[in-house]
């Protein structure tokens, strides 16, 4: 695996602060450097342009981005963002994920369980209110006061309006708190996906690779009151060939970056968090692969989850390799010292904050395993466990006053949580059992057989026997059963004899205890001191830089362009003809049947995918790729391998986003998947 060549662009790298390089930055809509971008790119981005683009951009609550592309609520995203939905409609007899999901009329569009689409309306600075709440407090008290203030602001602003979602987003690691108001659509239906193999062509080997030949696009539709929502603010569809070097914009919700973290935090990622994640994901991957090998049905129920595990793993490996470059960390260390030198009178306070954050990372080493296995990663992907924990906690939390609740049970967040818990959803018991076995055995491994927390979980059973018993006898797969517990509150939960509910109750004390410790010794000190550093950065460098990614709407700019790798030029565009060359017939380089059958009909010169120098990260999946006029010419679905180091810094020379072109999507809709109705809707032409 190539190591990201960080050494190249140190000067261009936003270490602790400093001016951003061309292409660099996941900018907020209220902080976009339009003038500079227009100067560099010859574009004409103004407030009206930004408003238009913001109104057409969508956040998908499942962790993706998307765009509105018709006046009747049609949404473009990636197939991999709609895959979990398609998977829930797949059966051994009718494997719609494999064959592609298609509809002949709107009546056939099907609601995706747990999905919600959100369009940003306004951003409001609430920094003074939030920082005032935390002032003078430390540790967990600080975390609770801050979270309570945030919950109150969200609730006050959106109330119980079913069409609105309010979220206070923490920016600059505590430097700013901004209230984001979204228009929300909680009925999101699946409209179309291509054949699965057309999307995952190249499989894990080609993931984060370019040149790439993946038709990673899908369409959803937002509904309101049982009818397609009216969305006049949609973006326009432009299925033309992208051009090398043309300016492009990506609007979406990058999930998380670590660019403003201190060196101690990066070392903790390198030495603790990433190695732990890599080992965990690797073993889970191995279990899933061998499980899938046992039969076609196992393969079918595992493929979506496996793909997710492999994606996360590859991303973690790439980030670990980036941090393994000791020159990179040395440069960051020097950057931290330079920052310290510019802080003037604040120097002592800043140095103290940096030290406190380092101490919090040491505490994280001690608390990390228990926190991960009992709290943040409990269940390891088991949907049933997720239901059990949510039901147990919601019962306890909803009985408390707003200010004392865990933040995920704040009034402003309950409606999405309820939807995700109660929406009917297909459960695969064998996969559930695999997750639970894995979680229980790894928890024992990490915390030790003799730990009280482990004995509370396992009793005298083995992880394998317990997992089997839980999955075979729980009734949580039944939405009516879940609803009864949600509505029945603490009394119903306490009275329940469901073994998974009982396990969640038994585990809750220890999980809360370690979470309290975590907030007191890790999260509290890190966030509190992060605020101090952010303020000092603003003082030293101004507040014109962009914040770390926070899965909130951002816009990034760049060009359609390739890069050089080991002296070799990688061009920006691939064409459909390249797919035929790369196909060997052996998985994962085998062609999807319908796509292969359409070979003669498809224009070989159609631009299939493209690389751009936009600054993106996981969460941007599904983001529209816009041209200078703000028209949709593609959808982001990946980055190249060097972009994985983008978690820590952007490198113009090598970081590339990867998109599937609108041109290829339209070509496939017309010539492979026979979707004239969708093509007409996208292009605003009369329906066939």
């Amino acid at each position: 695996m190539t190591r990201p060549a960080f050494a190249i662009a140190f000067a261009a790298l936003l270490a602790v602060a400093g001016p951003a390089a061309a292409g660099e930055g996941m900018w907020t809509f209220d902080g976009f450097p339009a003038q500079r971008v227009n100067r560099e790119f010859g574009t004409a981005v103004d407030q009206a342009w930004l408003d238009r683009v913001q109104a057409g951009a969508v956040r998908l609550a499942g962790g993706c981005s998307a765009s509105l592309v018709s006046p009747e609520g049609l949404v473009l995203t990636n197939q991999h963002c709609a895959r979990a939905c398609a998977q829930t409609f797949s059966t051994p007899e009718n494997d719609v994920l494999a064959t592609g999901f298609s509809t002949r009329s709107r009546e056939e569009e099907r609601t995706c369980p747990g999905q919600q689409a959100e369009v940003l309306l306004t951003i409001e600075d609430v920094t003074p209110r939030v920082t005032a709440a935390g002032r003078g407090k430390t540790g967990q008290a600080y975390v609770q006061a801050r979270d309570a203030a945030i919950g109150a602001i969200e609730q006050a602003s959106c109330g119980d309006d079913p069409k609105l979602r309010c979220q206070v987003v923490t920016l600059h690691r505590g430097g700013q708190y901004k209230l984001h108001r979204f228009r929300k659509y909680s009925d999101v239906r699946l409209v179309w996906t291509p054949e699965h193999q057309a999307v995952v062509f190249g499989g894990d080997p080609d993931n984060f690779n370019f040149p790439r030949y993946a038709l990673d696009a899908a369409f959803l539709r937002v509904y309101e009151d049982g009818r397609p929502a009216s969305t006049p603010g949609h973006l326009s569809w432009s299925p033309r060939a992208p051009r090398e070097q043309e300016p492009v914009f990506v609007v979406g919700n990058p999930g998380s970056t670590s660019r403003l973290k201190t060196v101690a935090q990066l070392e903790a990622e390198r030495d603790q968090q990433l190695p732990a994640a890599i080992k965990r994901l690797s073993e889970l991957r191995g279990r899933m692969i061998a499980f899938a090998d046992a039969g076609e049905d196992n393969r079918r129920i595992t493929r979506d989850a496996l793909r997710g595990v492999e994606n996360n793993l590859k991303s973690a490996v790439g980030r670990h390799a980036a941090l393994g470059d000791r020159r990179f960390l040395a440069e960051r260390r020097a950057g931290e010292l330079r920052f310290l030198e510019r802080t003037g009178d604040d120097r002592a306070a800043v140095a103290k904050a940096v030290t406190a954050i380092a101490a919090a990372q040491d505490a994280a080493v001690d608390l990390g395993p228990a926190y991960e296995w009992l709290e943040s990663g409990a269940g390891q992907g088991s949907v049933l466990w997720g239901y059990a924990r949510t039901l147990v906690r919601a019962a306890a939390e909803r009985a408390k006053p707003a200010a004392q609740r865990m933040p995920e049970y704040a009034e402003s967040r309950l409606s999405l949580l309820e939807k995700r818990t109660l929406d009917p959803r297909r459960i695969e018991p064998a996969l559930e059992e695999l997750y639970l076995r894995f979680w229980l055995s790894k928890t024992r491994e990490a915390l030790g057989t003799d730990a009280g927390e482990v004995q509370a979980l396992l009793g005298r059973e083995s992880p394998e026997a317990l997992a089997a018993r839980l999955v075979s006898s729980t009734r949580l797969a039944d939405p009516a059963f879940r609803r009864a517990l949600w509505e029945g509150g603490p009394a119903a939960v306490r009275a329940s004899t469901d073994p998974l509910i009982q396990l969640a109750i038994r585990a809750d004390g220890d999980a809360r205890r370690v979470r309290n410790l975590w907030e007191e010794r890790v999260e509290g000190p890190t966030d509190r001191n992060g605020e101090i550093l952010a303020q000092a950065r603003f003082k030293a460098f101004g507040d014109t830089t962009y914040p770390d990614a926070t899965f909130s709407p951002r816009i990034s700019f760049g060009r359609v362009e390739g890069w050089s790798q080991g002296g070799r030029r990688v061009p920006a565009l691939t064409r459909i003809s390249g797919l035929w060359t790369r196909a060997t017939g052996a998985p994962p380089f085998d062609l999807a049947p319908r796509l292969a059958a359409a070979r003669d009909r498809l224009d070989p010169d159609t631009v299939y995918t493209l690389a751009t120098s936009n600054d993106i990260v996981g969460g941007n999946s599904g983001s529209p790729l816009l041209d200078a006029q703000g028209r949709v010419i593609g959808a982001i679905f990946d980055g190249n391998l060097p972009s994985l180091g983008g978690a820590y810094g952007y490198n113009l020379a090598t970081n590339r986003a990867v998109a599937v072109s609108a041109m290829a999507v339209q070509e496939a809709l017309e010539k492979v998947y026979d979707q004239p109705r969708l093509v007409a809707e996208l292009n605003g032409t009369p329906r066939p």
């Binding site: 191995g286 080493v365 057989t449």
Partner: protein, 692 residues
């Protein structure tokens, strides 16, 4: 869970000047007897050392001790796991039932197992040094290996003798080790896996521990038990805390003499690849085993090995990311470098070997993935692939003069390679397919799909399809076919249409190319610099330093003692009573029926204990000896924090874990009804005549 906050840095020296009490895996010709006697109040002298050496055994990658005049050898159950597995079938599973014999006639030969006794050590440093001269890179390695082959070859062709030139102090010394070897080793007794490995992976590298990890094998000559001239005495008395103790065995490998830059590469490059690949393989093996009891049986031994290596490496990573531990290493390196810099003579003679090693690290990171996947770990553990590669390479190498061969095919080493290829052993195609397909997929993942080497390896196949085709089509599972190819040499190999032979032939060029690149760009320059660091260390500290472990016979000393962890004192002993308390009935805390049905053993018997001796993987099976040189137990493990032992000994936490002779004797008698073995051990016609 053990935390890192325990290390008293003041008490910890890493590789600095003189070793600590308890520290050091000493060679028999370099044991600091006077100092040890002073510290422990013992009376170790040359005769004592000779006696102990004569009773110590190297058993493949394990250690053992000779405990009767009739060739009876004590080792760990986990050292005969593979043998047990090979003698078993899914229907007659000795892992589940234990391997018990009613008479010697029922003892069964372990395929491929060899027992070796060290009979002499001779210094050949000048010869090897002279041969190396001023060569660099791969030429240096070739010159060294050719001279080693010549020295070993000069030992002659006595089938009972093996000679091995051992590289000590990373090139500082070369010693010729001469062994008397026995290649007919038979299994005499092994307990059930459930008691030998009680607690399974969760308890591995843990203490308190409750495992009866002991087994007996016997060396044979002809059809008679080997009449060995000397054996160690068995002492089944209850051990007492604080008593001096020695562990004698063949610790496999340590990296204590590596520089900080090398350790960083271990941390950033080597361990991440190792741990990632082990984690996924572990997952695959677990899920494969879950499909059926037969699969669980097939994958069991391999899974155990993977989990053991995984946990050990986790402990090593813990040490490398422990700021206090690494500060100790830094201080030690800085001290040596300062002293070299302060001496104009040393400086002129040695230059700056630390800088030379630092300069190699980028190349290391670049070449290592290909070296790891195409050469070092090629085949991913598949024994079918291992045979194919050995047969293909042997055919080429045997045609060359001794001095030009790859070291593993020189005259002196060929017999053991040959035996490992030709010995009959069961093959489980499903496991080979899993291992091969895993290896191919990981190779593609790390070297990337468009790499020309990967394309040559896979052709247009997927890893899964190729693995299935190779395993389904190969006839190498048949020992007769292996013999035919081995004896037929290059002509037979080239004429073979066996898909795995064709595959190994095709893959050999890339594997040799990456091995050459590794030797030229990494191993050669590293060895050259390491040898100068060894000279620096001798010059500054004299011979008060011990060499890194090399899988050869060493002796380490210490006491029976516990340690302090999280402010809590952990005692050195566990008992059978504790075993019964810990048994939940759910695997891996489930007792075998012989144990659960009735409790015949004395509950106060000491089962396992910890020693402050300095051991590491390879030390498994080593006898623990009291001051009189009597066997009081067998080393089988160390604690989780001891895994830092690879990089430095830490007297506050490093502990070896021993199964006691007392517990073994009690179990043989009361649980297994093996009075015959007990009588042999105690040198008595009947039970009860224990010597003090």
């Amino acid at each position: 869970m053990i935390r890192r906050a325990l290390i008293a840095i003041a008490a910890f020296t890493g590789v600095a000047s003189s070793a600590h009490a308890g520290e050091g895996m000493w060679t028999f010709d370099g044991f600091p007897a006077a100092r040890v006697n002073r510290e422990l109040g013992t009376r170790v002298d040359g005769a004592w050392l000779d006696r102990v050496r004569a009773g110590s055994v190297k058993l493949g990658g394990c250690s053992a001790s000779l405990v009767s005049p009739d060739g009876l050898i004590l080792t760990n159950n986990h050292c005969v796991d593979t043998c047990k597995q090979q003698l078993s079938t899914p229907e007659r599973n000795y892992g589940r039932t234990g391997f018990l014999t009613a008479s010697r006639a029922e003892e069964r030969r372990c395929p491929g197992m060899v027992a070796e006794f060290l009979t002499g050590i001779e210094d050949v440093t000048p010869r090897v040094r002279t041969a190396i001269g001023t060569a660099t890179g791969q030429a240096r390695i070739k010159a060294r290996d050719a001279e080693i082959a010549a020295i070993e070859g000069a030992c002659g062709s006595d089938a009972k003798v093996r000679c091995q030139v051992v590289d000590l102090y990373r090139g500082g010394q070369f010693k010729l080790y001469r062994y008397r070897k026995y290649d007919d080793v038979r299994l005499a007794f092994a307990p059930e896996d459930a008691i030998a490995n009680f607690g399974g992976d969760p308890d591995n590298f843990s203490f308190p521990r409750f495992a009866l990890d002991a087994a007996f094998v016997r060396v044979y000559e002809g059809e008679a038990p080997g009449r060995t001239p000397f054996n160690l005495r068995w002492n089944a008395a209850r051990p007492s805390a604080g008593a001096p103790v020695f562990v004698v065995g063949n610790p496999g490998a340590t990296q204590r003499l590596q520089t900080l830059d090398q350790l960083r590469t271990t941390q950033d490059v080597v361990l991440p690849i190792d741990q990632l690949t082990r984690s996924e393989l572990r997952g695959r093996l677990i899920a494969f085993g879950e499909r059926s009891p037969e699969n669980a049986f097939i994958a069991g031994d391999t899974l155990y090995g993977v989990e053991n290596s995984y946990k050990r490496a986790r402990g090593q990573m813990r040490a490398l990311t422990d700021a206090r531990f690494m500060a100790g290493k830094q201080a030690a390196e800085a001290e040596l470098r300062r002293k070299v810099a302060a001496s104009p003579k040393l400086k002129a003679e040695l230059g700056d070997p630390w800088a030379d090693i630092a300069a190699v690290q980028d190349d290391y990171a670049e070449v290592y993935p290909a070296y790891h996947f195409l050469e070092l770990r090629a085949g991913g553990g598949s024994s079918l692939h291992g045979w194919a590669r050995a047969i293909v390479r042997a055919a080429t190498e045997r045609a060359k003069p001794n001095g030009e061969r790859l070291p593993e095919f020189t005259q002196s080493r060929l017999p053991s390679t040959q035996r490992s290829v030709l010995e009959a052993r069961p093959v489980y195609p499903a496991l080979d397919e899993l291992e091969l397909s895993y290896w191919l997929s990981k190779t593609r993942e790390f070297l990337t799909v468009d790499d020309p080497q990967v394309k040559r390896l896979l052709g247009r196949d997927s890893p899964e399809v190729l693995a299935r085709r190779l395993v389904a089509g190969t006839r190498l599972g048949d020992p007769a076919e292996r013999k035919r190819l081995w004896e037929g040499g290059l002509a037979a190999v080239q004429a073979s249409d066996d898909p795995l032979i064709r595959f190994a032939l095709a893959a050999d060029a890339d594997a040799r190319r990456v091995r050459a690149a590794w030797e030229e760009r990494v191993a050669g320059p590293t060895d050259a610099a390491a040898e100068r660091i060894a000279r620096a260390r001798f010059a500054v500290y004299g011979d008060r330093v011990y060499p890194d472990a090399t899988g050869t016979l060493r002796i380490t000393y210490g006491r029976i003692e516990g340690w302090r962890q999280d402010g809590r004192l952990i005692g050195p002993f566990t008992t059978f009573a504790g075993l019964y308390d810990r048994a939940t009935g759910a695997p891996p805390f489930e007792l075998p029926e012989r144990w659960s049905a009735s409790r015949r053993v004395d509950p106060q018997t000491v089962l396992d204990m910890t020693l402050s001796t300095d051991t590491i993987g390879g030390s498994s099976g080593s006898p623990a000896l009291n001051a009189a040189g009597e066997v009081i137990g067998a080393n089988f493990d160390s604690t989780f924090l001891s895994q830092r032992n690879a990089f430095g000994y830490d007297p506050t936490v490093n502990r070896s874990v021993i199964v006691t002779a007392e517990a073994i004797t009690e179990a043989l008698r009361k649980v297994y009804g093996q009075e015959r073995l007990v009588a042999e051990l105690t040198g008595a016609g009947g039970a009860g005549s224990m010597r003090p």
